[in-house]
Symmetry: C2
Subunit: 247 residues, 2 copies
């Protein structure tokens, strides 16, 4: 999170008094890290829907009490890609659960509820428009499936346990591709539904680390992986610069 | 996690070469922290089932390759209590989902699967037996409900959004109490099911920070909260000492 904050500080020309540095507002003792960089809050959310949902509840309350207006929230992160070269950036056009439905399911007071996981189409397209032909990677619109684990729900065979075959896995991944899914991660459906519910524009912008149709092992070096992870930050950095009239 | 590791080092008389200290095997760059203290691994698991499930898959693989035998895994943590004084330690006798069923539900290759969330009864009773009449707190057996968020699924009214009334919340919490639920946390059902599936004995030992039947705000001071959080560690530390023949 500090890397993103430092990057945005440079990109947005945010000045910090001499001798001072960006500080983690969670003070390293909280479960999330948070940096304020001019008009941008950079916040970590942990892995998976439950961790993200706690963060969003608390962030929404913070933004309300701080009287923030016209807020936009963008999740940047990593994902497994489907049918895309590793290093491709996917801007989510629709967040789907593991039944490929656009809903975030919760059990409230013992009863199942489904909240529509709607993302702002205009925001997604505006972010997509911040890619450049000069980029050394592609940025695409695609559907994103949100899973509740990394191994079985994402059809990986290399967890501690597994109940399906390589063929069943590949058939499933091809079904996802045919349904328009271009990447899988672990937060999008709750992110979309929670932002939609409080009427805050939200977007999900994730780089793909692997093409699941060709294999599950990440073969890139650490250096290449770090460069991949900076790609969504570069695209989103440009979008924020544009919004702030810095270009 | 470092605090637990240091505590167990002292309790288990684990010697460390002069001038050295316990080190985080995740090196601070990984998403989890891990310390090895003699025969005990202390590992953090993040918040919620998805984060825990990644950790357990990877831990099970590690234990397999390290040829570990007769492993026991104990989750220690915090929870919201139901009908118990804050600071009470609950040893989980049964882990339930938010429908109050003893199952961990996953969607694998698009199909719903339910895995029994069975904990080892003998282990729970042995840990319960490590409480002492001299303790300044009670340790009890009880059912634990595992929720996928902190606010709405746990019937809290103080999230960013809420769709039920104080009365509906209290009726629900009383229903949980009547069903034998004594605390709510966010990992137990997957923890139990995953340990059961690979035939590793598992236990969940959590302190309650609040009595939800009397209110949701934690009113204890930071110092008291820290002492509460050490209580499950004390009980589990005694159990490990006993198993190692140190008592």
């Amino acid at each position: 999170m500090k890397h993103l904050a430092d990057y945005l500080q440079e990109q947005l020309h945010v000045e910090i008094p001499a001798g001072m540095t960006l500080c983690n507002l969670g003070k390293g003792k909280a479960r999330y890290a948070m940096y304020k960089v001019g008009p941008v809050l950079c916040v970590s959310h942990g892995m998976g829907v439950p961790s993200l949902s706690i963060l969003l509840h608390e962030l929404f309350k913070l933004l309300f009490h701080a009287k923030c207006k016209d807020v936009t929230i963008i999740r940047v992160g990593t994902s497994g890609g489907i049918g895309l070269d590793p290093g491709t950036v996917v801007v989510t056009e629709e967040a789907l659960n593991t039944f490929l439905e656009p809903y975030y399911t919760q059990v409230i007071l013992g009863k199942e509820t489904k909240k529509p996981s709607v993302l702002d189409r205009g925001l997604a397209e505006a972010i997509l428009g911040c890619s450049s032909p000069k980029d050394n990677f592609k940025t695409v619109l695609g559907k994103t499936m949100c899973a509740n684990d990394f191994y079985e729900e994402q059809a990986r065979l290399d967890g501690a346990v597994c109940t399906f075959t390589e063929k069943e896995k590949m058939d499933y991944l091809h079904e996802l591709y045919a349904a328009g899914v271009r990447n899988i991660e672990m937060e999008a459906v709750a992110f979309a539904a929670m932002c939609h519910r409080v009427n805050i524009k939200g977007a999900v912008v994730c780089v793909t680390l692997v093409n699941r149709l060709k294999g599950d092992q990440v073969t890139a070096t650490n250096e290449i992986m770090r460069e991949y992870q900076r790609r969504p930050q570069r695209i989103v950095g440009r979008y924020i610069r544009q919004q702030l009239g810095l270009d």
